[in-house]
Every structure is written in structure tokens, then in C-alpha cells.
């Protein structure tokens, strides 16, 4: 029963969502809207579950005085402080907006900006023309890196009205080889998703039910 009911439910909902795409009967439309509303409610509940999980995880770490438990204390303090700021002062202006602009935003931006340094270091050590394939990747990488900034326009020449530049070559790499590869991947992913969806609808793929029976 624990297996049959979810499979039957999944099959019925999946079938309705599939059929409604091709027909515009009002009852199908209502069901479609209802399923989408439920889906959003389920996602909202997931946020609550996530918050409870976060509090429990870090609460246990603090209680047991595990290694680096101070970070857990900072995490929970941040959570409580932002909730209090939002509930107490509202989300428009006040301490909530201040903490976003002056704490969260600079911290996230700083971490993201650090990537530039790590990418530079990794590129210096790993980008070697060891094989033909690596050399092709290296050349394409350098062309796109320079072509996507102002210098790409400057490195070029004109023949009559036509302009041949590194930026143009970079655009061609993105527009032709990159596009072809990306489209091939997208078609493969699309076929895979369709096959998996069909397997779930027909009850062949049951891993989403978990191990228990």
C-alpha cells in the first residue's frame, strides 16, 4: 500500500499535467492551476523544514561543544537577528535592510570576488598545452578571455568595410562551436528527462519513494 498509493497518485497527477498541455478544457485548466498552487505551498513548507533542520543541526553542535561550535553559534545568532529585524522593523528600510546592505551584501560580494584570484592561480598552474586537445582549449580560452573585454575590439584589422577582430573571433567561438555543443547536450538532456518522466509515470522508476517498503 505504501508503494502503490504514491505510484498511483504520481501517475494520475502526471497524466493530468501531461494531457492539459494539449487541451484547453476548463476543468483541466482548473486542475493545472490547483496543482501549481499546491506545488508552491509544498515549496513553502520546504523552507520551514529547512529552517528547522538548520536550527537542529547547529543547536546539537553547540550543545555538544563540537569542534568549531562557535561558527554554529554565529549562524544561529544571524538567523535570529535577521528574523527579529524583519518581524520587528519590517522589510522596507530599518535594521533588516541595513543588515542586508551593510553585512550580507559586502560579505557575499567579497567571497564572489575572491574567485578571480583562485581562477587566476588555477589557470596559471593547470592551463598547459600538453596535448592537442589541451592546446585547442587553451587557444579558445585565451581568445574568449581577450575577446570578451575591450582589448578584443582593438586587436584586429579592417578590410574595406569589414572588421576582423579578436572580439569577432570570440563571438564566432561562442556562436558556432559552443552553440553546437550546447544544443547537442540540451537535446540529450531533453530526451533523458522525457524518458525518466515516462518511467516515473509508469511506475518503473521508483527511487523517489525511498528504500523502505
Amino acid at each position: 500500500m505504501k508503494t502503490t498509493l504514491p505510484i498511483l497518485f504520481g501517475f494520475l497527477v502526471g497524466l493530468v499535467m501531461f494531457v492539459q498541455y494539449f487541451f484547453s478544457h476548463p476543468s483541466l485548466q482548473r486542475t493545472y492551476n490547483l496543482v501549481l498552487d499546491w506545488k508552491q505551498i509544498v515549496f513553502g513548507m520546504m523552507l520551514i523544514l529547512g529552517t528547522i533542520g538548520l536550527v537542529r543541526h547547529h543547536g546539537v553542535r553547540i550543545q555538544r561543544r563540537e569542534r568549531a561550535w562557535g561558527y554554529s553559534a554565529v549562524t544561529l545568532s544571524g538567523l535570529v537577528a535577521v528574523i527579529l529585524a524583519g518581524v520587528g522593523g519590517g522589510v522596507q528600510g530599518g535594521p533588516y535592510a541595513w543588515s542586508f546592505e551593510n553585512v550580507q551584501s559586502p560579505m557575499q560580494s567579497t567571497i564572489f570576488a575572491l574567485l578571480a584570484f583562485y581562477v587566476a592561480s588555477a589557470a596559471y598552474r593547470a592551463f598547459r598545452a600538453r596535448t592537442v586537445h589541451a592546446t585547442l582549449l587553451l587557444c579558445a580560452g585565451i581568445i574568449v578571455m581577450l575577446g570578451r573585454v575591450s582589448i578584443g575590439e582593438m586587436l584586429g584589422f579592417s578590410v574595406g568595410d569589414a572588421r576582423y577582430s579578436l572580439a569577432g573571433l570570440s563571438g564566432w567561438i561562442l556562436d558556432v562551436p559552443n552553440l553546437a555543443a550546447k544544443r547537442g547536450i540540451l537535446i540529450g538532456v531533453g530526451l533523458g528527462v522525457s524518458a525518466t518522466a515516462l518511467k516515473i509515470l509508469l511506475g518503473i522508476e521508483r527511487s523517489y519513494l525511498g528504500k523502505g517498503d
Binding site: 587553451l138 570578451r148 582593438m154 572580439a167
Partner: protein, 275 residues
């Protein structure tokens, strides 16, 4: 016996590299170079979609990014908002990110406090819904049903703007400024199912994923990273942070490429010596 030069190069202290990149990025901020910005076809098409809007038209704007990518995304948002509101275009905004409301708030203030727009009539901020797929699909049926209340808890049914525009068909354009695959999802669901016109701003990394959709016309135009933002600033004649930032990005890229070349020259010198 002193070590050959390539061994020094191959064992370069990474802190030297960090200092070189930091200087390459910082110096042009202090001493701007004024390097040229030439708009590409994708950016021109993005701007053309904005240019076609008439006073009174309504667009849906999605803040699909958080604080970490503000440096790349905010310049795009700034130009779109200033350009559209300056031409009398109405904006219905939302976000698919939990951190999105904080990012959006300065633009709501820009519209209402600096540009004199009336909240509810000229601009509305619907806020954040946690389920992006359900949200994008449900918006095609009804904005008001998807967001019964706006970000500030007011009933969306009371806003004149949402009485006028309640689904994609009532809007002229969807603009998503996205630091993730959300630009693709807007294209697949909002354009694919509801035939809405979509333009996107993406980070430089995400922009490469938009080429297949752009070639087929599913995305009418897009901006890629800071370069795309600088191109939009130039097209809209609203220069700002992106135009200034392009100098830093250019020197930063140039320094990284120089180090990559140095590493390869050292690698080949070492290999030649060993063989």
C-alpha cells in the same frame, strides 16, 4: 648551481599572482583608461526590445540574482529601470531568489522616491516565491493568483497596475536579470508555453548557455556579464559602473593571459631541457 628561470616560473609563489591581479584590477579604477565599448548583436537586440516599448506599456521584471553577483547584474538592472521608467513604461517586479528582495529594494526606492513613480500604478514589487518553476508557470495564468499579496503584504487585487495586467499576455516584455539558469527557465516556460517575449541579462559564465535560445529567437536579446552591461549603458546613453569596470576587467584578463603564456613558455623550456 642556481635554478634555471623556468623552475622559478613554474614554482611561482601564488601570492605574487594575487598581487598582480589585484593591482591590474585596482589601478584602472583609480586611473581610468577609457577603453572602447562596442555593442555586440545580442546587446543591440536586447536594447531594441526596450526601445520598442511605448509609454503605458507594462513589463515584467525578475530580479534573479542575489548580493554576490550585484557587481555584474546591478548595472543592467539600473539601465533597464531608468530607461523604462523614463519613457513611461510600467514595471511589475518579482524575484525567484530568497536574497532577491534586498537586491530589489533600492530600485523600488529609485522608482518611487527619486523618479516620482506611484507605487501600485506605475510600479509594483510582488516579492519572492520559493518555487520558481511553479511561479513562472502560474504567472502565465494569473499574476494576482500567484501573488495574492505583494512584498509588503498589501493585496495585489487592489493595485490598478495589476488590474490592468494580470498575465503574460497583458505585458509587452519579460526582462530577467539572472545569475543562474533562471534565464533559461523563463525562456522554456514563459516563452515556450505562453509565447511571452523574453530578454535576459546573464553573468558572463551563464551567458554561454543562452546562445541556442537566442539563435532560435526564443530569447529576443541578451547581455553577457559586465561587458553586456557596459554595452547596454552605451546604447542607452546612461554610462555607469559597467563602463568604468570594463577597464579593470580588461587589464585583469590581460594579466591572467600573460601569466598563462608565461607558464606555458616555462613548461616548454623545462620539457625541452629534459628531453
Amino acid at each position: 648551481m642556481p635554478r634555471p628561470w623556468w623552475e622559478h616560473a613554474l614554482r611561482l609563489d601564488r601570492r605574487l599572482l594575487f598581487v598582480a591581479v589585484a593591482l591590474a584590477v585596482a589601478i584602472p579604477v583609480l586611473f581610468p583608461l577609457g577603453l572602447p565599448v562596442v555593442p555586440g548583436k545580442e546587446s543591440r537586440d536586447f536594447f531594441a526590445a526596450l526601445e520598442q516599448l511605448q509609454p503605458g506599456d507594462v513589463i515584467l521584471f525578475s530580479f534573479d540574482y542575489e548580493a554576490d553577483s550585484r557587481a555584474e547584474m546591478d548595472p543592467m538592472t539600473r539601465v533597464v529601470w531608468r530607461y523604462c521608467l523614463g519613457r513611461g513604461v510600467r514595471i511589475i517586479a518579482l524575484t525567484n531568489y530568497a536574497g532577491g528582495p534586498g537586491v530589489a529594494e533600492p530600485y523600488i526606492e529609485l522608482a518611487t522616491k527619486q523618479l516620482g513613480q506611484v507605487y501600485g500604478e506605475d510600479v509594483v514589487f510582488l516579492g519572492y516565491n520559493p518555487d520558481y518553476s511553479g511561479t513562472i508557470l502560474r504567472l502565465g495564468e494569473s499574476f494576482r493568483a500567484t501573488f495574492p499579496a505583494d512584498q509588503y503584504g498589501r493585496s495585489t487585487a487592489d493595485f490598478p497596475l495589476l488590474q490592468r495586467a494580470n498575465r503574460y499576455a497583458d505585458t509587452k516584455l519579460i526582462v530577467t536579470i539572472a545569475a543562474s539558469s533562471l534565464a533559461e527557465y523563463w525562456t522554456i516556460w514563459a516563452h515556450g508555453k505562453y509565447d511571452a517575449k523574453v530578454i535576459a541579462g546573464a553573468t558572463a559564465i551563464q551567458a554561454v548557455h543562452l546562445y541556442p535560445y537566442y539563435q532560435t529567437g526564443q530569447v529576443s536579446g541578451f547581455l553577457g556579464g559586465l561587458k553586456g552591461a557596459a554595452e547596454l549603458e552605451r546604447l542607452a546613453e546612461l554610462p555607469g559602473d559597467a563602463t568604468r569596470g570594463m577597464d579593470s576587467q580588461t587589464t585583469g584578463h590581460a594579466v591572467i593571459v600573460l601569466f598563462i603564456l608565461l607558464g606555458n613558455v616555462a613548461y616548454f623550456a623545462q620539457r625541452r631541457r629534459k628531453s
